[in-house]
């Protein structure tokens, strides 16, 4: 089939027009992409800037927090010690108040309990070997010495 000259001209014209459309469309798309690229880059830059800004303040805040934590830790230690001392003195006070004038009775009572044990095991001395016998007697002497000193040292 053969096209007429006019038809060829028309087709050529059409092709040129399509080409032109494509070109303009391509340009438009390219422009849009570039714009979007710029926007994104701008956002990235802003983010980077913000991040940098925050990073520096965060370091400062971290330092601040660290200092505060140290202060708190020291203060806690001091307060804990103070509290422990207070508890200690309160307990001592309460015990002293409770024991006031009764130290002798308490020592006597402790000795009686200790002595009961010594007495109950005294007969067993007969069955001990000489070395064990001597060790046991020394043990009793030591216990006695402690009580003598405590009761005498009141």
């Amino acid at each position: 089939m053969k096209y007429t000259e006019d038809e060829v001209k028309f087709i050529k014209k059409e092709i040129i027009s399509i080409k032109s459309d494509i070109l303009s469309s391509q340009e438009r798309i390219e422009q849009t992409i570039r714009t979007q690229e710029e926007i994104i880059m701008d956002m990235i830059n802003r983010f980077n800037n913000e991040l940098l800004k925050h990073k520096s303040t965060m370091k400062e805040d971290m330092e601040k927090l660290k200092t505060q934590q140290d202060v708190l830790r020291i203060s806690y230690t001091i307060n804990e010690k103070k509290l422990m001392n207070k508890i200690d003195s309160s307990i001592t006070k309460a015990i002293t108040k409770h024991l006031d004038g009764k130290e002798s009775e308490i020592l006597m009572k402790i000795w009686i309990n200790e002595f009961k044990e010594i007495f109950e095991n005294f007969e067993k001395l007969k069955k001990l070997k000489p070395k064990e016998f001597s060790v046991r007697l020394n043990e009793i002497s030591d216990i006695l010495e402690v009580f003598k000193q405590k009761i005498l040292g009141e």
């Binding site: 006695l144 009761i151 005498l152």
Partner: protein, 323 residues
């Protein structure tokens, strides 16, 4: 040279208030108390005599006479070598009756071999006009066969002689009964160590058969009074029996002094156990078992005594709160 140890267990018995503790204190050099403080349980005192080859230890168990503190506990009467039964020359009837009625029976039952002496205390208080009544009372209640000695804990008259006589007679007894070489002449060596003769010691024994009431006062009046040496006069506070320590505030007795006395006796008894243990450490192997058995009896006594003392302190404390 081996030095052998001789332990003498002497118990002081008698009704409350007759002066048992004062006699012991006077003997061991403690001051005469300004007021009556009852003995709770038993207090143990020691007197030691060191001879060249013997070490004599007189263990004096002073037993509280207040009935509420159980003075008739059998442990106080067992294994005694000697006993001094104390009565009050100012109140002979009641205090001798008490000896006859209670202490003699227990002594005969638990320590029949023990050498016993009747000691009349407070000779400084006897008035010449009371001599005859006193003698009659003593004759009426005299326990046959026991030497009688009059002493004064306050003026210390005849005190050291009475205790020396106890030691001397004990040594004479072991000298006669034991054939061991170490005991030969021990009583004589003892007399030399205290610078006395047998006559000096036996001179203090009162012979009721021969004594004349008219001359009794001159014989028994304490030397210190004879020489007219003034003793410190203290206010006479009537002695009272204490039945319940929780009600002590009703009596005219110093509670703090009683408490102090109990604690001191407690400490003293701890030292006695220390000595007992150190004796065991030194004991020869062949006598160890019998020593342990003997120590056990003393420990049993001391255990009860510790408990009694603590109980008494608690009662005194409870009386403090009530008052």
């Amino acid at each position: 040279m081996m030095v052998s140890e001789i332990n003498i267990k002497l118990t002081i018995l008698g009704q409350w208030g007759v002066g048992k503790t004062s006699i012991v204190n006077s003997f061991i050099g403690k001051d005469f108390p300004a007021m009556y403080i009852p003995t709770i349980g038993s207090n143990i005192a020691r007197k030691e005599y060191k001879l060249t080859s013997n070490h004599i230890r007189l263990n004096i168990w002073d037993i509280g006479g207040q009935r509420s503190f159980n003075p008739l506990n059998p442990v106080f009467f067992s294994n005694l070598d000697s006993a001094l039964l104390i009565f009050d020359l100012n109140n002979p009837k009641e205090t001798l009756q008490e000896i006859l009625k209670t202490y003699m029976k227990n002594l005969a039952q638990y320590s029949p071999e023990c050498t016993t002496y009747l000691i009349g205390n407070k000779s400084d208080l006897i008035k010449p006009e009371d001599s005859e009544i006193l003698l009659n009372n003593i004759r009426q209640y005299q326990i046959e066969g026991f030497p009688i000695i009059f002493v004064s804990a306050k003026t210390q008259d005849n005190i050291s002689e009475a205790f020396s006589l106890v030691v001397f007679n004990f040594l004479k007894k072991i000298e006669n009964e034991s054939r061991e070489k170490q005991f030969i002449g021990i009583s004589k060596r003892f007399l030399e160590s205290i610078n006395k003769t047998q006559e000096d010691l036996e001179h203090i024994i009162i012979n009721l058969e021969e004594i004349d009431p008219n001359t009794l006062h001159n014989k028994i009046i304490p030397t210190i009074i004879k020489k007219n040496v003034k003793t410190v006069e203290s206010e006479v506070i009537p002695i009272r029996e204490i039945n319940d320590l929780t009600k002590i505030q009703e009596l005219d007795v110093d509670k703090s002094l009683i408490k102090e006395n109990i604690i001191n006796a407690f400490k003293n008894n701890l030292s006695i156990i220390s000595d007992l243990i150190s004796d065991l450490k030194k004991a020869p192997i062949d006598s160890l078992i019998s020593k342990i058995d003997k120590s056990l009896e003393d420990l049993s006594n001391l255990k009860k005594d510790f408990e009694l003392k603590l109980d008494s302190i608690l009662k005194l404390e409870s009386s403090k709160h009530k008052s």
